[in-house]
Subunit: 230 residues, 2 copies
Amino acid sequence: MQDKPSNLPRTQPDGAALKSIIDVMLERRATMHFAPDPVPEEYLNAILSLAAQAPSGYNLQPWRFIVVRKEENKRRLQAVAFKQPKVVEAPVVIICLGMKEEWKERATEVFKEGAERGAGQTDAWQQTRDGAIGFITKALPMSVWVTRHTMIAVTSLMLIAEAYGYDTAPMEGFDPAGVKTEFGVPDEAEVVALVAIGRGVAPDKAYPGRFALDQIVYEEAYGEPWTQDT
Amino acid sequence: MQDKPSNLPRTQPDGAALKSIIDVMLERRATMHFAPDPVPEEYLNAILSLAAQAPSGYNLQPWRFIVVRKEENKRRLQAVAFKQPKVVEAPVVIICLGMKEEWKERATEVFKEGAERGAGQTDAWQQTRDGAIGFITKALPMSVWVTRHTMIAVTSLMLIAEAYGYDTAPMEGFDPAGVKTEFGVPDEAEVVALVAIGRGVAPDKAYPGRFALDQIVYEEAYGEPWTQDT
């Protein structure tokens, strides 16, 4: 493992200020068509490095990302993603995976090094590790657990890319078995999402509206609508 | 449904600038202990309203949130959340749910109103709705699908709260059956996470490290380590 990333770009590539998360949440749209302009290496690294700081249960980080940029590979991905044009148009498409087994192999590194960094008892990390593995494997289906955590990193990645001024398109229109075959992904992986990153070509899709807070937020108990001013 | 929220606070409650998403990703820690200071209504509304702008497949928004603030209810929640002290200490704890059935009942509103807002053909929204429901119910287990989408809103909520200067603690240490019983949640719901929001009491947990990019990012195919400078 390693320390926090440093020397990250603090502006958009053209020097404009980072977008605030408020603007990102209000202005982001799932981009339908992308221009071919590449995402500079420095920015792609920053997006990935920051997404990798996402939290996860016991810091187990079950997420893995395949960065697809070569034309021929984007075409192969498109063929298992319902032929969506944006998969080939976007300069970068990231295949987001949650590993249902491999995280257990890496748990020793996570708990041992975590303890050495002060986040656990150095003489008890084996017991903590074994307890964590036991809890997770019993608490819920592994596909749900890896989806839960991988989506923290995927959502972070999308919002960070948007803050740097890029447009994104998260996708769930794909055949997971086809993605695994085409990209050599172990069968144990859950293919959680695809995320395209680049510069959108106007126009965006129209804003379709959202449920009002009193339709989705309850106060103190399920079914008691949130009555605060919205 | 409704339009985008407006009149949101653009600073932290004390007037300080919003934190950038870079600082949020680098500085955020899962808070262990909270001070009792309440989260002002205006900020809690803004956090929820912005989280509700999260994207979801077909805009179906399967997430629901129960805001728990009353002492007696926090104690009941704590009893089904492995007695974690932060559940009672934090001024706000949000129970995050993904609805495995109810989203279908709301699909008519989503597709009809979406089409009226320009995000679909007004004469074909019923077919689009039926096709979406068919795709989703066949593509993957419903518990995975609602977790995928609910976690986009949950992650957004956490990052927005942090940008407003609050501390957060996402939790997966709870008994979902107990949460449902105590808070009147229908059995069809997936209890995806609890999120505590408030002001942390120092010290934070130590930073436990993260996998380096060449441990979690692959280039063009699974197993080909990312070799860019990190």
